[in-house]
Amino acid sequence: MFKKNFSSKIIKVGFIFVMVILVMVWNPRSVFDGLGNVFFTATYPIQKIFSSSANKISFFAKTISSIGKLKSENEKLLYENISLKSDNAKLKDVSKENDILRNEIELLPKEKFDLTAVHIIGRDFYENNDWLLVDKGERDGLRKGMPVIVGKGVLIGRISQVFPYNAKIVTITNPESNINATTVETGAMGIVKSKYGLGVILDMVLQTDYLKVGDDVITSEISQNIPRGLLIGKIKEIHLSEDKLFQTAIISMPIDFSKLRFVFVIKK
């Protein structure tokens, strides 16, 4: 009896294994994208309920945990306010110079981006921040390939799939992501990609290019659909590639993806 039961289970598991591996090899992306479209469109109202409840709970928990820190944070903010006032005065002067420089290198001012604010309503299963699900889609004018930023110009990824009410953003930490980038000070060119889902690196930098720790890495004009000048991060460490042909730099990113609530899609 046990033997019969055992072998029938093994046959079932074996059958599933073979079938799934065949489907994985075949990989009919369009069929699964269509199914994903139906799934996300049909469940959109439930998604909204879950995500808004999650945001409320998260906000409440943050408020409770921050009560004790309020006094020390207030003192810190007062100090920061004074230093920001002095920085502001300096920045006004720098801003003028910046405009002239931007005109010279034909960089688009950040204010001229046609931005759409989107609310993050879902994240990937395995905690890698590989993708985000947002509450706007095709109906709001979002299209595949559009870059996604936070603040005034920190790149976090681009739209990989669009559904009527949702869109999926593939972040720069996703192994599928490849973005052409350059360093601000030294002008070294390379490709920003994920390092096994643990962070991002600037790869394929020629030996003749100079890399500097602390230099900012920004998007270059070669990237398709991505405007030049969006910040990706700062160079933390520099290494030689395994084949010793290229240089590789580990990038420290200025944002924690797990804390993001809103992001902006650059439509134009």
Partner: protein
């Protein structure tokens, strides 16, 4: 029909709960993946033979919702369900203490595997990933302990809910058969 609707709803709700609720509440380093825990609870509550098709559907729906390589979650869940069913026959029923220890071990393993960045990314599998992840995850005691506490609590809750649902469904099925 009723059991189809109830089980399909469970699958959809658990997937949406993971993507749109838990992943937004918990910070990235402490996110709990409840879907593999549900697979364990489901197989423990009922028989593998009765539930395997639903585990397969759960895997397929998770793959569709994840929108990446189709099939990896199906393989992961079906193998997990088979292992739980195989081991539970030997430990869970006869020896309560061993059964509890085994369940805790399963939950720890699941937490570890789902934290193991990239292990389920077939395209990027390499020795570097394994070394990086062991260094980053194996010795992160605080994280493992937190996930274990969350994991056991969630598992207990899901076990009870699924147990009640499955009991209701089997009673309903018996009643239908009786009427026939």
């Amino acid at each position: 029909m009723k059991s189809f609707l109830i089980r399909s709803s469970i699958i959809i709700v658990i997937i949406l709960l993971q993507i749109n609720f838990l992943n937004l509440i918990f910070p990235s380093s402490y996110t709990l993946n409840v879907i593999p825990l549900m697979v364990i609870a489901w197989v423990t509550v009922t028989k593998f033979e009765k539930i395997w098709i639903w585990i397969l559907l759960l895997g397929a729906m998770t793959d569709i919702a994840e929108m990446e390589k189709f099939g990896k979650n199906i393989l992961f869940f079906v193998v997990l369900a088979y292992l739980v069913s195989f081991l539970s026959k030997r430990f869970l029923i006869e020896r309560r203490l061993y059964g509890t220890i085994l369940l805790i071990l399963f939950i720890i393993t699941i937490s570890f595997i789902t934290n193991f960045n990239g292990i389920l990314n077939f395209g990027n599998f390499s020795l570097d990933i394994i070394v990086d992840n062991i260094v980053n995850n194996l010795f992160a005691w605080k994280r493992l302990l937190t996930e274990l506490v969350f994991g056991i609590s969630v598992f207990y809750l899901m076990y009870n809910i699924l147990n009640k649902i499955e009991m209701y469904l089997s009673k309903y099925d018996d009643k239908l058969l009786g009427n026939l």
